[in-house]
């Protein structure tokens, strides 16, 4: 409870969360639901049925104009030219040192109209960073207040959403999106998520958010849907080994070190972007350190910041660590020198003064059955 509640922003669903008895916490300047019925229950609901998340705190930046594509090619790490209309792409805004200012999803609405969805904690920073680049024939707008965003995740997501939307979900592929209606109101449905499950992120108008949420809960509840908070979102994404900005990566960790070399395009046609020389060298020659997954073998949860040693030599710190509710193991991520990053490497983690053994394991920790 580090910030006075009065200074926190509220999403259009704030009143709904309160009605549901959610526990609200400060997060990235917002007052957000951390859990409703309980973190573990919510986590398991997403793995087995469905969960509904309010992620309206995420930012939406719109880039529009004939120069929009060229601009995005200059400021993002992935190859935006590969996107077709209605397609989305995981990417990053790299800095000159090869580290991300943020990780983002770029949506191509049309050849000259893109939406960039950014982390809540970075909206202002990203917006200023993008404005600082040379102009071109495009307009950059912060549209964050114009969208509410709910995320419906889990194996039952399609069955729950389909009766409520005009978008044909069966033909909507992973990392694709479509405009349509949700309960008679405009909505953009994107087959994306941050849980390791199938699911949808649904952009709606803020004044429609509460009605959309309530209908999804009404239709989904009999199928096992639960409202899910930031707590479950964090444990779900970690089981799926998805990085969290500010924890597993920041302005000091390169994209290649974070294991995100696959969103760094070296295609000559893409051209130059910040950090390209560093990222190119690391992609070709290997990074000096790597973000790896570990499993705790001893008793204890390895949490963010706990020191990690190999052969009693301090080599790094835990970036994310948790009890993994579906796997029923304690897992985490940490940066290790490349020489010590192989799967099977034995680690020792300092859990509040007590050494606890751990081992580097393959990731993702959890992968859903196809």
């Amino acid at each position: 409870m580090e910030t006075a509640p009065g200074t926190l922003r509220r999403t259009p669903l704030s009143a709904v969360h309160r009605e549901l008895g959610a526990k609200m916490v400060p997060f990235a300047g917002w007052e957000m639901p951390v859990e409703y019925s309980g973190l573990i229950t919510e986590h398991l609901a997403v793995r087995k049925a469905a969960g509904l998340f309010d992620v309206s705190h995420m930012g939406e930046l719109e880039v529009e104009g004939p120069g929009a594509l060229a601009f995005l090619q200059r400021v993002t790490s992935n190859d935006v030219a590969r996107l077709l209309d209605g397609q989305a792409q995981y990417s990053a805004l790299p800095l000159p040192n090869g580290a991300p200012a943020d990780d983002v999803i770029v949506y191509r609405r049309s050849a000259d109209r893109f939406l960039v969805v950014v982390n809540a904690s970075n909206v202002e920073k990203d917006y200023k960073w993008l404005l600082s680049h040379d102009g071109g024939e495009y307009e950059l707008k912060n549209r964050s207040d114009d969208y509410a965003l709910v995320s419906l995740q889990g194996p039952r997501a399609q069955a729950i959403l389909q009766p409520l939307t005009t978008v044909d979900l069966a033909s909507l592929r992973y990392y694709h999106f479509a405009d349509g209606e949700l309960e008679g109101q405009p909505a953009t449905v994107s087959r994306t998520g941050y849980t390791g499950e199938d699911g949808f992120e649904i952009f709606v108008r803020p004044d429609h958010a509460a009605a959309a949420w309530k209908r999804l809960v009404e239709v989904g509840s009999p199928q096992g849907l639960l409202p899910a908070g930031l707590g479950a979102r964090d444990t779900l994404r970690l089981e799926a080994r998805m990085c969290l900005y500010g924890m597993d990566m920041d302005e000091t960790t390169t994209l290649v070190e974070a294991g995100l070399g696959w969103i760094v395009s070296l295609d000559p046609a893409k051209g130059d972007f910040p950090g390209r020389p560093v990222l190119e060298a690391q992609k070709r020659g290997g990074p000096p350190r790597k973000l790896v997954g570990f499993e705790v073998l001893g008793r204890g949860i390895a949490r963010h910041g706990y020191a990690v040693s190999v052969n009693h030599e301090p080599v790094g710190a835990v970036t994310s660590g948790t009890y993994a509710p579906f796997l029923q193991k304690n897992i985490g991520l940490c940066y290790l020198p490349a020489a010590h990053a192989a799967v099977g490497t034995d680690l020792e983690i300092d859990v509040r003064g007590r050494p606890v053994s751990a081992r580097v394991v393959p990731t993702p920790f959890y992968k859903r059955a196809q």
């Binding site: 526990k23 573990i40 707590g231 964090d234 444990t235 949860i301």
Partner: protein, 127 residues
């Protein structure tokens, strides 16, 4: 909702005096703040505790929290069943999920802690 057969600390522990002994646990408010508990570490029998001294840790999926002795005394009993099934802290914090029993150094010392009404008021003000 807080039982009036015991006393409470501002760190959200309770102590129930039973003769010269005090049974200690954490409050419903504390378990609710923690969320799903997955680990509990408790002291050995025989450990002498000063008021406010750390006697263990309770860990939920998202947070770790120290346990503080509400009163002075020697640990005479430890709820080892709870260590194996710490989720009872979420379901029955004031009953089954007691943590330790101490032989009280001063059986009257608990009297200076908050009663149920005062604790309830503290919790309400934190909301």
């Amino acid at each position: 909702m807080y039982p009036d057969d015991r006393r409470y600390t501002k760190e959200h522990e309770w102590v129930k005096v039973e003769g010269d002994r005090g049974r200690v646990g954490i409050t419903d408010y504390a378990q609710n703040q923690l969320g799903d508990v997955v680990y509990l570490e408790l002291p050995e029998v025989g450990r002498k505790l000063k008021p406010g001294e750390t006697f263990g840790t309770v860990e939920s999926v998202k947070a770790v929290s120290e346990l503080f002795a509400p009163v002075a005394g020697e640990v005479v009993e430890v709820n080892s069943a709870l260590v194996s099934n710490p989720e009872a802290i979420n379901t029955d914090p004031h009953g089954q999920a007691w943590m330790i029993v101490v032989r009280l150094q001063d059986p009257k010392a608990a009297g200076s802690l908050m009663d149920a009404k005062a604790y309830q008021a503290l919790v309400e003000s934190a909301k």
